[in-house]
Amino acid sequence: MIPPFETFYEAHRDEVFRFLGRRLGRERAEDAFQETFLRALRAYPRLEHGDHLRAWVFTIASRIVVDEARRRRPQAALPELAAEDGLPAFEDLAPLTDELPPKERAAVVLRYGYDLDYAEIGAALGSTEQAARQAASAGVRRLRKERP
C-alpha cells in the first residue's frame, strides 16, 4: 500500500531540501526541490509498494543534482572539473550492480554513482551512517569477487 502523497511529502520534504541545499546551495536547491517532488508525483501512481520511499526520493533528488551539475559545468568548458563530472550515472552503474542484494546495491549506487556521503546514504536508506558504510563496502567486496 502506497501512503497518500501528502504523508510521503510531509515526511521527507525537509530532509530532501537539506540534502539539496548542501549540494547546490540554497537558491538552486529551491528549483531542484520542486523538480524532485514533481518527478516523484509523476512516478507515484506506478509504484508497486510503499517500501524504501525515502531511498527512492533521495535517488530522484541525487539524479537532479547530477543533471544540474552537468548542465552548469559542461566538461569542455571546465576540463579541470571533469573528474567530478565523470561520476558514473545511475544507468551506467546499475547493470553492474544488478546481482547485489538490494541494500548493498542502493548503498553502492548512492555512494559511487551519486557521491553521497555515508550519513546521507544512511538517511536515504532509513538506517545509520555506519550501516551504510558497511553495506557499501560489502557490496564492493562482492562485486570484486564476482568480477575479478
Binding site: 497518500p4 502523497f5 520534504r13 525537509d14 531540501f17 526541490f33 508525483l41 501512481p45
Partner: protein, 187 residues
C-alpha cells in the same frame, strides 16, 4: 533547516497546475459551522467534512481516488468561493459538481434525488425512500444521509423526520439547525 512556507506553497500550486493530483484538499477555517475540510478532483467536489483534521481523511481519499492526495489551496478556491457566498446568503445552488463516482449505486441514486431538494425546503427520509423505489427504506436513506461524503453541497440537512423533528445529522444537530435557519426553512 526546514523548507519555507513560500517554497512549500509553490510546490503545492505547481503540483495542481501540472494536473498531477488525484485529490487536492484544503481546510476552510472560518465558516459559521466551523472549519471544513474540502477535497476536490478534476470532476468536482468529492469531500466536505466537519472533521477538519486531514490525517483522518488521507487514507480513505487515497484508497478511493488514487494516492496523489495533496493539500493545495488553489484547486479548492472555486468551492471556497461558492461556500462563502452560500454562508453569506448570496447563493442557493452550487455550481461545482459533486463527484460521487465511488459510492455504491444505491447511495448515488438517493443522493441524486436529494440534490433536487431546493434551498429553503425540506423533505423526509420516507419521501426520499419512496422516490428512490422503496417507501419502507427510510432507515436505509438515513444511513445514506449519515455517510454523505459531501454535506452542505448535497443537502442532507434538508431531510427531517416525518413529524418535522430534525432527527439527526452527522455534523451534529446544531449545525443542521443553523443551516436550515440560514436557508429560512425554519425560524
Amino acid at each position: 533547516m526546514t523548507i519555507s512556507p513560500a517554497l512549500d506553497a509553490r510546490f503545492r500550486d505547481a503540483a495542481a497546475a501540472a494536473e498531477l493530483l488525484d485529490v487536492a484538499f484544503d481546510v476552510i477555517d472560518d465558516t459559521p459551522i466551523g472549519p471544513l475540510l474540502v477535497g476536490v478532483t478534476d470532476r468536482g467536489v468529492c469531500r466536505i467534512s466537519f472533521d477538519s483534521d486531514p490525517e483522518h481523511h488521507l487514507e480513505l481519499l487515497a484508497r478511493q481516488f488514487g494516492p496523489r492526495v495533496l493539500r493545495s489551496r488553489r484547486p479548492v478556491d472555486r468551492m471556497r468561493r461558492e461556500l462563502d457566498e452560500y454562508f453569506a446568503g448570496q447563493r442557493q445552488r452550487f455550481d461545482v459538481e459533486p463527484d460521487v463516482r465511488f459510492l455504491p449505486a444505491y447511495h448515488q441514486r438517493v443522493l441524486e434525488e436529494l440534490a433536487r431538494v431546493e434551498y429553503g425546503a425540506t423533505t423526509t427520509y420516507g419521501t426520499l425512500a419512496a422516490q428512490t423505489g422503496n417507501p419502507r427504506a427510510a432507515r436505509a436513506v438515513g444511513t445514506v444521509m449519515h455517510r454523505n461524503p459531501i454535506p452542505v453541497v448535497l443537502p442532507c440537512h434538508r431531510v427531517v423526520g416525518a413529524s418535522g423533528s430534525l432527527t439527526g445529522y452527522a455534523g451534529g444537530l446544531e449545525r443542521k439547525e443553523l443551516l436550515l435557519r440560514l436557508e429560512g426553512a425554519i425560524l
